[in-house]
């Protein structure tokens, strides 16, 4: 079976760091297409809930209605429930006008400035009809950062100005509008493999070593204090900028280091907007990927599939 090796692989995920809005993990034994699909789904296809419809009753603020509506839409709402909600366009309960419990959440905002002090209207002033879907609370548990505790500023009011509105949040995906994207940043990089040719390295003076180490803008190498050997501190800090390779070339020592990207392992960084926890975001993304593949998978009762697709058909049917 040497010639016809099985290409089936079993990707593994190893979580390195996990916070509410931040996750870092390794994805191994797969290729760039899968990694990128995961990234793309996380950014643009994991559903969240965001304000989509704003009915303005009173607006005597300095910002006009569209501006306010746009700002409200960009406020992240906690969307753990989003996966189980319906898109309002295919909601049976409300014929797609998006005003029922299955597909929408209603918000109210009412603010009026009566004092001489400028009044900040923030996301905290949005009152939700559903306690599971509320503006994301950014305040630190320690109460450290005061300004963020007040929420996201929507508009500032002066004396006599008033804002009263009703907003409806709906489920949506980032593909339609960036406000529905749960990810602030999702990125991955190939894991670099760095080999130092220590033999050749020893032919350098200490100064030369130092300048070699300094040539990388990120801290990848280091000189050991005792042995004066160049060693790798953090291979993942390497940004594929090839500065060190160029430096080695310039020093007349090509092959001093060898760096190549491991084609099958990726280091993912996920930052969430707060709508969904970073860990949940990854899981949701995998779910959605699966659903997408399910749609591709041919249904069991298609007989012609065998003729048309042969073994592939059988494979896709899960055989």
């Amino acid at each position: 079976m040497d010639g016809i090796a099985s290409y089936q692989r079993f990707p593994t995920v190893k979580i390195r760091e996990l916070k509410d809005d931040y996750a870092k993990f390794e994805l191994r034994n797969t290729d760039a297409s899968i990694a990128n699909a995961l990234r793309r789904v996380m950014i643009s296809e994991v559903p969240t809930v965001a304000i989509d419809l704003v009915e303005i009753e009173i607006n005597s603020t300095v910002l006009n209605d569209e501006f306010l509506a746009h700002r409200l839409g960009l406020v992240p709402l906690t969307s753990e429930r989003a996966m189980s909600m319906r898109f309002s366009r295919d909601c049976d309960a409300c014929d797609g006008d998006g005003q029922c419990e299955f597909c929408s959440v209603e918000f109210h905002l009412r603010a009026k400035c009566i004092g001489d002090q400028t009044l900040d209207v923030t996301s905290k002033d949005l009152y939700s009809s559903d306690h599971t879907v509320v503006p994301v609370d950014f305040s630190d548990a320690s109460g450290y950062e005061n300004s963020e505790q007040r929420g996201i500023i929507i508009v500032k009011l002066r004396r006599g100005q008033e804002l009263k509105l009703r907003a409806i949040a709906r489920k949506g995906i980032g593909k339609d509008h960036a406000k529905w994207s749960p990810a602030a940043t999702v990125t991955f990089m190939y894991e670099p493999a760095i080999h130092i040719n220590q033999e050749m390295m020893e032919s350098l003076t200490l100064d030369e070593k130092q300048s070699f180490v300094d040539s990388s803008p990120t801290k990848v190498f280091e000189i050991d204090d005792e042995t004066h050997q160049v060693k790798i501190v953090d291979s993942e800090a390497y940004a594929y900028d090839e500065e060190v390779l160029k430096k080695a070339e310039a020093m007349g020592k090509p092959g001093l280091v060898e760096i190549y990207a491991k084609e099958d392992s990726f280091i993912f960084t996920v930052e969430s907007t707060g709508a969904v926890k970073a860990s949940q975001l990854v899981l949701n993304a995998i779910d959605i990927l699966k659903q997408k593949l399910d749609a591709v998978r041919l249904s069991e009762d298609t007989v012609e599939a065998d003729d048309q697709f042969g073994e592939l058909g059988a494979h896709m049917r899960g055989g």
Binding site: A32, S33, A35, N36, A37, R39, R40, I43, S44, I56, N59, V62, N64, D65, E66, F67, H70, L74, G174, K175, H177, A178, K179, S181, T185, V186, T187, F188, M189, Y190, P217, T218, K219, A237, A239, Y240, D241, E242, E243, A261, T269, E271
Partner: protein
């Protein structure tokens, strides 16, 4: 270069003095006009005299004590409320104040009776001393619904803001030698050479006098009067001006020639001068005029018809008047005029003998500028004179016609006659001049053009608005010239006119902009006090005499160049100064210019033209007059400890001065002697707009020009008082940002108050081909999040008041009840916040006469939101005037135009999702915008690359980066700095490496689509991008069927009418070349004027066919068969038969052609053939 720490928030009380300085010259000139100019002007208006033969009484009428009132509401009432500019803008009327003047009547030298008369409404410049906003602090301004930074300088006419265009004029009171082939055609015997002087009176009105050289060696003095040019032999004028002898004239003219100095540096005279003077004197003798008196009478005799109102005066009095009113009018004394004429003759002869070169009228050296106050004064004078003369004519007519109800001795009756042409029309004339920019004059008032004197001050953004005040135009007459020499950038304009800020295309080089430090002299000194020109000139004279000048009066020596220099002070020959001491005198004068307590004004122009061989005619020309260009430089002569070493210099003197750059070098001066002056900062040569381009010294120069254009077309923050404005169209950027990389100018003028763009993360790569040819890919997600969102505000003004029937109000706003309840409120006006789609009504107007309701419908193709409805509350019962402001959302779409600050414009070609954009593996950063790398090599906008790197470093360090151009050419004061930073790139690069980024600003990106690493590193960083106002939504044009021209039945033209785009000849050619016959037929025939014509095959005519009476069709309809197309019974009228009728498809214009030809008795016939298969 150093990154400067700028406070992130603007200061609590921002100082807009730098901004106000930009428009200062407009306001100063208007202030002077109000305070003193009108008074001086009115004094110069000649009184009219009317003689009544029966009573033998003479009535003298003149004007005096003009007074302008601050703008008021209902100026008729006594204590009316102040009128505020914002009210004028909203209600669409003019910001003007009452102009009152005294009309004096005097019978036969008796006591004068004064009558206060209303001369109409004079438009008031904003921020002038009659404006209510003057001296208001920002807080007050805001409370008056103005910008906090309002600088004024413009007029509000019918709600529109207009600025007087600064026109370039010939420098006043300086005799300029000129060579023009058109002079030759003036009259027989003229050559192409002349000396021209534009003489300006105290009241700013000017008379240009030309001294032509004749081929016989003589000269003629030409001047324009009542639209005709008159020529006088110069000898005649000389003799008429002064009671001298031929000997004196001969000596004073020939003194410039001395054998001893032939071919010596600075000698201007030749032997020929003597011959010419003889000819000049002989000419006068040939007219048998010997004495001063005779000459004067001769002139008087010939000019009697022209001089109005002097019919009964003696010849010599008329002659005197001619000299006073037309010849060298800037001087009062005839002796001064004589001296100046002698000087001009000498200069003319020198020009003829080629011992001096002609002056270049296109050089800034010989130019000055027309200021709004002066223009209005001149025009007002002309109108007042006209009015008086008309009044005199009316009076004489009445006296002659023997009207019964008119008594000459009754002032009341005289006044009635005077008001036959209402005095209030004078204010209206000024108003309409400013409104239209057209001067309506019968006689020329010595201005280069009489149209386009004002322009609308467009508030698209701050840069465009301010540029209107700084723009100087060469004039419409020059624009028509074929030659390009006038458009050239001349070295004379260094420091005064920005070399970068001029439009490309038609007005290139004609519409220039003043540099940021350039100012214009005025009647006020730096302290704001009125200059006393008489005193100033006197003290200059005393100083000059103290230095060693020999005054021209009394005349002692007859010597000339190169021994002595003539000294001209404001166009008056005040004396001569020996060439040995002239330089010392100049230095002395410059020292005194600096000291505050001397009587020498700080903007005195000391034009010292040194001796040369065949150069400019030498002399010492001093100017104190207003409307000259000046700019500050550092004088190096006083010890640096002295605080005040800033000297204002003009373009005339600059040419002969030694000014060094502050880089510490000698500027290639070597043995020319040390520099006496130093530039303050190299950015002083750039205009304010050009100064905003970061590191413009690293760009190819045309790119900086393009940026100056595009900066003025940018959507930005047009106004902070947006809610109080009623502009017809206002562009507004929703979320603008302050640039990360900015020049010193940016903070100086507080552009943060009116920001113009967004810091966008720009990646430079060819990604997918949607960025070819200056297209750019925008990140849709960034746009979703609000990047470059904008609005357009449009105001519809509806005024129901019928001007003809002022008291009757037949129209009113009223909802018509049924149709449009959802859109229109009960008062007939729209709800605020209501979205209105195209062709939906937004207001109902009820007409009481016809008892019908009509509604205004929204034009255009995109919906609008009602932003604001302003009503005129003056008339509460009958609402007549309404402003409805619409808001249209304009978020970026494919086809919108964007540009960086380096002349790199592009059109959005795709809006791509975040996930499709390339991303950085390390930071996860996705660009907002992708441009193609091909945008750089040929355009060489290096500064854009620098900006990207600097902004990246700056935002990583949390600092703004200073990108002032030419900062490398400043003197390096501290040694450390000089040694440390060798190049700008080094400095920017090291900032990036300090934070782990690549030195060159590149990053490794991964394809967003495939997830694979891109093969090369990508240059990426933040660049400040401007959104330009050209948007597809305003430009796209679509048509399938629609309106056609009634005559040709072809589609109409124009986007507004839903017309088509011309499919022209070249387009046709390309289809022919492709052999796309069907498409060609479709475009040119079927989609255009397809027509099926009936042709008579017997006579071949298409015009003689007519439809026969339709037959009764009832039979068929009863039968139940649908009334299908009846075969039309067509007959030829000429052949009287329908036998040979055929139908032929043809363009309708062909039929039209046949009809046109028939009208010319040409018959067009068709021969029809039916070839099978053809």
């Amino acid at each position: 270069m150093s990154s400067k720490k700028v406070p992130p928030h603007r200061t609590a009380n921002p100082d807009f003095s730098a901004l106000k300085e930009m428009v200062h010259h407009h306001i100063q000139s208007f202030d002077y006009m109000i305070d003193f100019g009108l008074e001086t002007m009115v004094k110069k208006i000649k009184p009219i005299e009317v003689f009544e033969p029966v009573l033998n009484k003479k009535l003298r009428i003149w004007l005096g004590s003009p007074e302008v009132y601050a703008p008021q509401k209902d100026s008729g009432k006594t204590n009316a409320a102040t009128l505020y500019p914002f009210e004028c803008r909203q209600a669409r009327f003019s910001y003007d104040g009452k102009l009152m003047m005294d009309v004096f009547f005097q019978y036969d030298g008796g006591t004068a009776i004064r009558e206060k008369t209303h001369f109409g409404q004079l438009p008031i410049m904003l921020m002038s001393n009659k404006c209510t906003l003057r001296n208001a602090d920002p807080k007050k301004l805001v409370s008056l619904k103005e910008e906090a930074s309002e600088a004024g300088g413009y007029f509000i006419l019918n709600g529109l803001e207009r600025v007087v265009r600064l026109l370039i004029l010939q420098k006043r009171n300086y005799p300029m030698s000129m060579v023009r082939s058109s002079f030759r055609d003036r009259r027989e015997g003229h050559t192409d050479k002349a000396v021209v002087i534009r003489c300006v009176r105290e009241d700013q009105s000017a008379v240009t006098v030309k001294l032509y050289y004749l081929s016989n060696g003589s000269a003629r003095l030409g001047f324009w009067a009542l639209g005709k040019e008159y020529m006088l032999p110069v000898g005649l004028v000389l003799k008429a001006l002064a009671d001298t002898t031929d000997q004196e004239i001969y000596v004073s003219l020939t003194c410039c020639y001395n054998e001893k100095y032939e071919r010596v540096k600075g000698s201007v005279g030749t032997q020929l001068v003597g011959e010419r003077v003889k000819i000049i004197l002989d000419e006068v003798r040939d007219l048998s005029l010997i004495t001063h008196k005779q000459c004067l009478q001769h002139i008087g005799k010939h000019f009697k018809q022209i001089m109005r109102g002097m019919d009964n005066e003696s010849h010599s009095v008329v002659g005197d008047a001619v000299l006073r009113d037309y010849i060298l009018v800037h001087l009062d004394d005839n002796r001064d005029k004589f001296n100046l004429l002698i000087f001009m003759l000498q200069k003319l002869f020198s020009l003829v003998d080629q011992t001096s070169v002609p002056d270049n009228p296109d050089a800034l050296q010989n130019q000055e500028v027309l200021l709004p106050g002066h223009l209005i004064t001149i025009y007002l004078k002309e109108k007042l004179e006209e009015w008086l003369l008309k009044a005199a004519k009316e009076l004489r007519d009445v006296i002659n016609s023997d009207k019964k109800n008119f008594e000459f001795m009754k002032i009341h009756d005289v006044k009635k006659i005077l008001q036959r042409s209402s005095s209030k029309l004078i204010g209206t004339a000024i108003d309409s001049m400013l409104k239209t920019g057209r001067l309506v004059t019968r006689i020329s008032i010595d201005l280069p053009q009489n149209a386009g004197m004002t322009v609308q001050a467009d508030r698209l953004n701050l840069l465009r608005f301010l540029s209107h005040f700084r723009a100087v135009h060469r004039g419409a007459s020059v624009a028509g010239l074929r030659t390009t020499s006038v458009r050239k950038l001349l070295p004379e304009s260094w420091g005064f006119i920005c070399p970068v800020h001029t439009p490309d295309g038609e007005p290139c080089g004609l519409l220039n902009h003043m540099t940021s430090c350039c100012r214009i002299t005025s009647f006020y000194d730096s302290g704001g006090n009125l200059k006393d020109f008489f005193k100033m000139r006197k003290s200059i004279l005393t100083i000059l005499i103290g230095v060693g000048m020999i005054p021209s009066w009394p005349r002692l020596v007859k010597s000339a160049l190169p021994e002595v220099f003539s000294v001209l002070l404001d166009g008056c020959v005040v004396g001569t100064i020996s060439s040995n001491i002239v330089e010392k005198a100049v230095t002395h004068l410059r020292r005194l210019k600096l000291s505050a307590n001397s009587m020498i004004p700080d903007d005195l122009e000391v034009g010292y033209v040194p001796l040369s061989i065949g150069g400019t005619y030498p002399g010492l020309y001093l100017f104190t007059c207003p409307s000259r260009f000046v700019r500050p430089t550092k004088n190096l002569l006083p010890p640096s400890t002295e605080s005040n070493n800033i000297e204002l210099i003009g373009p005339f003197e600059q040419v002969y001065m030694e000014i060094q750059c502050p880089d510490g070098g000698d500027g290639g001066r070597k043995d020319l002697g040390p520099a006496t002056h130093e530039e303050i900062h190299p950015t002083g040569i750039l205009s304010m707009v050009a100064n905003l381009t970061p590191w413009s010294d690293h760009n190819q120069s045309p790119r900086n020009m393009y940026q100056c254009q595009m900066g003025k077309q940018t959507m930005g923050f047009a106004s902070q008082a947006l809610n109080c404005r009623a502009d017809q169209k206002l562009y507004h950027l929703q979320t603008p940002q302050t640039p990360l990389v900015r020049t010193g100018t940016y903070e100086k003028y507080g552009i943060d108050e009116f920001p113009l763009g967004t810091n966008a993360i720009v990646a430079v790569l060819a990604y997918s081909g949607y960025d070819m040819e200056d297209a750019m890919v925008l990140n849709k997600s960034s746009v979703d999040r609000g990047m470059c969102h904008g609005h357009i505000y449009q105001t519809e003004s509806i005024d129901l008041a019928d001007k003809r029937k002022a008291d009757r109000k037949t129209q009113m706003f009223k909802r018509d009840g049924k149709s449009s309840k959802s859109l229109i409120d009960s008062d007939g006006l729209p709800h605020v916040g209501q979205t209105i789609r195209p062709d939906e009504p937004y207001c109902n107007i009820y007409d009481a006469d016809t008892s019908r309701t009509r509604s205004q419908k929204l034009k255009g193709t995109e919906p609008a939101i009602v932003d604001y409805v302003a009503v005129d509350v003056k008339n509460k019962k009958h609402l007549q005037k309404v402003n409805i402001r619409f808001r249209r959302q304009r978020n970026p779409v494919i086809g919108d135009k964007f540009s960086s600050r380096h002349g790199q414009k592009g059109v959005c070609s795709q809006l791509w999702q975040d996930v499709d954009m390339p991303f950085s593996g390390v930071t996860g950063m996705r660009p907002d915008l992708i441009i193609n790398p091909h945008a750089f090599p040929s355009r060489m906008t290096i500064a854009m690359l620098l900006e990207s790197m600097a902004a990246k470093g700056g935002c990583l360090h949390g600092k703004f980066v200073d990108a002032t151009p030419f900062s490398g050419s400043l003197k390096k004061t501290d040694e450390k700095k000089a040694s440390e930073s060798d190049t700008l790139v080094d400095e920017l690069g090291s900032k990036l490496t300090a934070l782990g980024f690549n030195y060159h600003g590149v990053e490794v990106l991964y394809s967003g689509v495939y997830g694979t690493e891109l093969t090369c590193e990508i240059f990426i960083g933040p660049v400040y991008y401007q959104r330009l106002r050209h948007m597809v939504s305003d430009k796209y044009q679509v048509r399938s069927r629609g309106r056609v021209d009634p005559l040709t039945r072809q589609p109409v033209q124009g986007r507004k009418l839903g017309g088509g785009i011309r499919f022209g000849e070249m387009e046709r050619d390309s289809l022919l070349a492709h052999g796309a016959a069907y498409l060609l037929h479709d475009r040119l025939h079927l989609s255009s004027d397809h027509h099926i014509a009936d042709v008579c095959s017997i006579c071949g005519s298409i015009l003689t066919t007519s439809v026969a009476q339709p037959q009764k069709r009832i039979v068929r309809e009863i039968a139940g068969i649908p009334p299908g197309r009846d075969p039309k019974k067509v007959a030829c009228v000429a052949c009287k038969t329908s036998k040979g009728m055929e139908t032929v498809a043809m363009p309708y214009v062909f039929r039209y052609l046949a009809a046109e030809l028939a009208s010319m008795n040409i018959k067009l016939t068709l021969q029809l053939k039916n070839e099978a298969g053809a």
